[in-house]
């Protein structure tokens, strides 16, 4: 039990210049190395610090620029191998790093678990045992109340519904096993089981997707306003950020030399990227253009691509569309107050299905439509933040991801034609994992289900 590798954020929650994600356990080096580019962390000297980039090996997505401290057992806090990943402060980046290592084999540490390991491995002396137990108790209680707070009522209801579906299915398989002569219930078939597993998988998938929406709500949608010089980017910026709505947080980044501004559009928080760049350079017409905009694209979830309706579509515009393809984008044809020279059919064609909005930013026309389009892009039109069911807790997300994997295993076994009672092992596992999210006891409930669902007796 003490051998698995644990991970947690080791710096206080909240905004700080840097934050640390700590890994401890036999696999600490291997897991960190798996997501770390630049150097082989398993080969470096102990107690050294390494510069590198964290990359998700499955998607090749760059996650963070970090410094990793490598400390090999036994001269460490826990007497196990430890890697401490120093990343940028703020919940966004540190959570991203934590989720990355959890995805690749670490387990989220229980409250006080690093200290517990330090103690169990003889690192902390006896007199501190009391303190360790105090710590576990108090941290657990706090973590539990926190998790409960983070657990939206709808989410727990949804999870309960999914578990109910699963347990009915499992009970069905069980009744076939324990009461093979009971003829009142149809035999669970591979097809039926597959259908049910697939249903639940779809829901779990949606939950994981809304987890992304939850993230968006907390972190804001990285939004880049791009376009040729003098199309109205600055005006758009000012309109979106009109004084009473704007929450301006200046984050002097350490790697990205940008200033971000937060604006709230119908409950959807937008994090406007490189607004400084737009402001600084808007007047210096010759200096801005495609290159600058391309950089802004790298960090964006949403692209607002501004066009000048007063002139035909240019090669430069097309190049911007090309750069924005595969991203969520909204095309804005501005300057409807002037004579329209642009061919709208052509715009729709290059927009490839992205919404096209016409505005006159000077006269504040078309702003409603634009805001609606932004909301639609991320929340399928349901913008009411208070109404959204989403998963935000890192532990919950990890459990959902594990549930997703267990369902994949079950589906794969079915493909291979494994007997149902074996497939059911993974279905039951999914049910248990979902139970952990809402903290439900598993012990007797399957048997309760069995006897409430079926009339049995032999």
């Amino acid at each position: 039990m003490e051998q698995d590798t644990i991970a947690a954020i080791s710096t206080p929650l909240g905004e700080g210049a840097i934050a640390i994600v700590r890994l401890s356990g036999d696999e600490a080096l291997a897991i960190a190395n798996h997501v770390f580019s630049n150097k082989d962390l398993t080969q470096v000297d102990s107690h050294t610090i390494q510069y590198g980039t964290l990359v998700d090996p499955k998607t090749d997505e760059k996650v963070e620029e970090v410094m990793a401290s490598v400390m090999k057992a036994p001269k460490t806090f826990t007497r196990e191998d430890i890697v401490e990943i120093n990343c940028h402060g703020g919940m966004v980046s540190v959570n991203r790093v934590l989720q990355l290592v959890l995805r690749y084999g670490a387990r989220l540490a229980e409250p006080g678990e690093f200290t517990k390991r330090a103690f169990l491995n003889g690192r902390i002396d006896l007199s501190q045992a009391e303190a360790v137990m105090d710590l576990i108790r108090s941290k657990t209680d706090r973590a539990m109340s926190l998790a409960l707070k983070q657990m939206d009522g709808r989410l727990s209801q949804l999870i309960r519904d999914l578990r109910q579906q699963l347990i009915e299915t499992v009970a069905h398989v069980e009744v076939n096993i324990d009461y093979p002569e009971y003829d009142d219930v149809e035999e669970m078939t591979n097809e039926l089981l597959k259908e049910r597993a697939q249903n639940v998988k779809n829901e779990v998938h949606t939950l994981l997707r809304t987890a992304k929406q939850g993230k968006i709500l907390r972190e804001g949608i990285g939004t880049a306003i791009i376009g040729k010089p003098n199309v109205g980017k600055s005006s758009l910026m000012n309109i979106l950020a009109h004084d009473d709505k704007a929450i301006v947080t200046e984050v002097p980044g350490t790697t990205r030399d940008v200033i971000e501004e937060y604006v709230n559009v119908r409950g959807v928080p937008l994090r406007l990227i490189d607004t400084a760049g737009i402001r600084e350079t808007e007047d210096i017409v010759e200096k801005i253009g495609v290159e600058r905009s391309r950089q802004a694209l790298q960090d964006a979830d949403l692209i607002l691509l501004v066009l000048n309706g007063n002139e035909p579509l240019t090669e430069e515009d097309r190049a911007l569309f090309e750069a924005a393809k595969d991203l969520d984008a909204i095309a804005i044809v501005n300057k409807t107050d002037l004579n329209q020279q642009i061919n709208m059919d052509e715009v729709r064609e290059v927009a490839q299905g992205s919404p096209v909005i016409t505005t006159s930013l000077i006269e504040e026309q078309g702003i409603d439509e634009l805001e609606q389009a932004i909301a639609d892009t991320f929340f399928d039109g349901e913008v009411d933040q208070g109404d959204l069911t989403y998963v935000s807790n890192v532990r919950h997300i990890q459990l959902l991801e594990q549930a997703n994997e267990a369902l994949d295993d079950a589906l794969e076994s079915m493909e291979m034609g494994m007997p149902l009672d074996l497939v059911q092992i993974d279905i039951t596992r999914t049910w248990e994992l979902l139970g952990e999210i809402i903290g439900e006891d598993v012990s007797e409930s399957l048997i309760d289900q069995l006897f409430s669902q079926f009339c049995l007796g032999k």
Partner: protein, 629 residues
């Protein structure tokens, strides 16, 4: 009062638990006395005439692998046998036999009579002799005092037993035998928590009065089968069971008379098992079902009594008669014995150590239905364990606790002593988290060595077992070395089985992993130069085909074992462990788990409590080291 003798172990009761307890204790070398109310009712089956079924059938095999008797006796005395769940995976297959009840009893009695170290005697135990918290022997109603430092109580449903039929009730054990009253009162006085449970049984009817033409035949398997790994002679002459159904009219009669049912009269009653509902329960709880199955099971070869499985009831006798008249085939059925419910006292099983010794009274063991279980197999499994452990204590030998990954017996006892039970406990496959490891086919592989260590398995059987293991290993090794080339012959065979042809050479063992392949086919392609017993072939196939799943289960077991290996001293004072949540502390004080693993399964104990416990135990260890230095 007179002194009637001294023994190492005394077993009270000779039902399914008592029989295995007495045999196991005697085989381990303990001088053992068995006392029973009626020598003609040894291993009596008061309810259905059958042994085995899912989970339970695996228990019978486990008992056999541990040197117990149940499997051997049923192999000799059944009237039909079937392997269930053959269309499902290997983990859930199970044997079930219909027993010849009388033959079963006779055979068991003969086995007991012939067992060395075992004395069999008729007598009603009136009192346990207890001094200073330790048991010293028993006193019978005929004032005989037998002395022993280990006593196993296997009194089934006899403790304050009460039979209920309609508004009639009387104190009785099953089948109108005398109940045990004083023993129950004494356990109460000794401070044991007692619960009141209930179970029931249907009527038996005369076979001549059944119109079988209106029912469906339920034959046994044509392939001869056996529970025991030792059985070599099979019963080929089998007797079928029959299936019929209740209908709307039956349900109407039950509904109209519900208030007359002893269990629905409004009087306070013991808790019955959900998995063994009376017909009244079925009608009330599932009133949308138009019909329920009724199996007609012969009670033996030498009798015409037929057990009406599915109609367990505590309705008045005349309603039982009316009810039968509405069931096809039973219109004219003559009731030979009426159905009844029976209430009895059971000991709350969290008062037991996992050895089945009570925590309150040193040397006192309980096993079987007295521990809140139901079922012959569950009783027999516990009886064997109590016998092994009582003998161990008497002779200062090694005790035996099976964990949840070793046997259904381990699952059952762990459930009982760790969680207790709110209703009569029955084993179900879903109670076993490592079900894939606890198979019907591998009970011998799991437990024969243990049985041997416990002196329950003779040398010669152990050698045979070792040989079987060697054959399995050798054959898997052979298949892992034979490479099959994509010859026409091989490709043709694979295609005949519906598989896709080989692109390249493949190890025989890998080909066997394909879903469409069987061991039989593989052997055609990779012929061996010697014959192998069927059970060896079966093992090879299962172990190879499900290797992935088995590995996964084994990993979970390794994790579990780490926690099981962290022992907790029996006398740990939980009040000394600061920081435990109040509920967890109370529960732990009651259960007194022997390992951190067991503690983690006590309900109300959460992971933080387990962590705190770990740290506390570690602290003690450090302290000890410090004191020694």
């Amino acid at each position: 009062m007179y002194e009637a003798g001294r023994y190492d172990v005394i077993v009270i009761g000779a039902g399914h638990a008592g029989v295995e307890a007495g045999l196991a204790a005697a085989k381990r070398g303990a001088k053992t006395l068995m006392l029973t109310l009626n020598l003609d009712l040894i291993a009596f089956m008061p309810c259905n005439p059958s042994v085995g079924g899912p989970a339970k059938g695996v228990v019978v095999r486990e008992i056999d692998a541990l040197g117990g008797q149940m499997g051997k006796t049923i192999d000799k005395t059944h009237i039909q046998m079937r392997l269930l769940n053959t269309s499902k995976g290997p983990a859930v297959r199970a044997l079930r036999a219909q027993a010849d009840k009388v033959l079963y009893q006779q055979e068991m009695k003969r086995v007991l009579e012939n067992q060395e170290n075992l004395t069999l005697r008729q007598g009603m135990v009136e009192e346990l002799l207890v001094e200073d918290g330790a048991v010293k022997g028993v006193k019978t109603e005929t004032k005989a005092c037998y002395y022993a430092d280990q006593v196993i109580v296997t009194t089934g449903t006899f403790m304050r037993g009460k039979v209920l039929i309609g508004d009639i009730e009387y104190q009785s054990g099953p089948n109108n035998q005398r109940p045990t009253i004083t023993l129950s009162e004494q356990l109460d006085d000794l401070g044991f928590d007692i619960v009141r449970f209930k179970t029931g049984t249907p009527m038996r009817v005369n076979s001549h009065s059944i119109d079988y033409s209106k029912t469906e035949i339920q034959p046994g398997d044509e392939v001869p089968r056996a529970f025991s790994y030792e059985t070599t002679e099979y019963i080929l002459d089998q007797i079928p069971c029959w299936l019929t159904y209740t209908g709307e009219v039956t349900h109407q009669i039950i509904d109209d008379n519900l208030a007359k049912s002893a269990m629905y009269s409004g009087a306070e009653r013991g808790t019955g098992p959900r998995y063994c509902p009376s017909i009244e329960d079925k009608i009330v709880r599932f009133n949308d079902k138009p019909r329920h199955q009724v199996f007609l099971e012969p009670e033996g070869r030498q009798t015409d009594e037929v057990y009406v499985q599915g109609l367990s009831t505590s309705l008045p006798e005349y309603v039982q008669k009316e009810m039968l008249e509405t069931v096809p085939g039973l219109e004219n059925a003559e009731i030979m014995r009426a159905g009844y419910a029976i209430e009895y006292d059971a000991v709350v099983p969290t008062q037991l150590w996992p050895t089945l010794e009570t925590k309150k009274v040193d040397g006192l063991f309980t096993a079987g239905q007295i521990n809140g279980t139901s079922g012959y197999e569950e009783a027999a499994g516990q009886g064997l364990m109590a016998g092994v452990n009582a003998a161990a204590k008497a002779l200062d030998k090694e005790t035996l606790i099976l964990d949840r990954s070793q046997a259904y017996i381990g699952v059952m006892i762990d459930d009982l002593v760790t969680k207790g039970t709110d209703e009569p406990y029955r084993l179900l496959t879903s109670r076993a988290e490592y079900r894939l490891l606890l198979r019907h086919d591998n009970a011998d592989l799991r437990l024969t060595d243990i049985g041997y260590d416990m002196e329950l398995i003779p040398d010669e059987r152990h050698e045979r077992f070792n040989h079987k293991q060697e054959l399995i290993e050798a054959e898997i090794k052979r298949l892992s070395e034979v490479r099959l080339k994509p010859t026409d012959d091989v490709q043709q065979t694979i295609q005949d089985k519906g598989g896709s042809p080989l692109k390249d050479g493949v190890l025989a063992v890998d080909l066997l992993r394909r879903p469409e392949m069987t061991y039989e086919t593989i052997v055609q392609l990779a012929p061996r130069d010697h014959e192998l017993p069927v059970e060896v072939e079966e093992q090879v196939e299962i172990q190879v085909k499900y290797e992935g799943y088995i590995k996964k289960s084994n990993q979970q077991v390794d994790k579990m074992r780490k926690m099981e290996n962290k022992k907790i001293p029996e006398n740990l004072d939980y009040d000394d462990v600061d920081n435990l949540a109040t509920e967890a502390r109370e529960r732990l004080k009651r259960v007194r788990p022997l390992s951190v693993g067991q503690a983690s399964r006590v309900s109300g104990v959460n992971p933080a409590d387990v962590s705190i416990l770990l740290v506390y135990l570690e602290q003690g260890k450090h302290a000890k080291v410090a004191a020694n230095e």
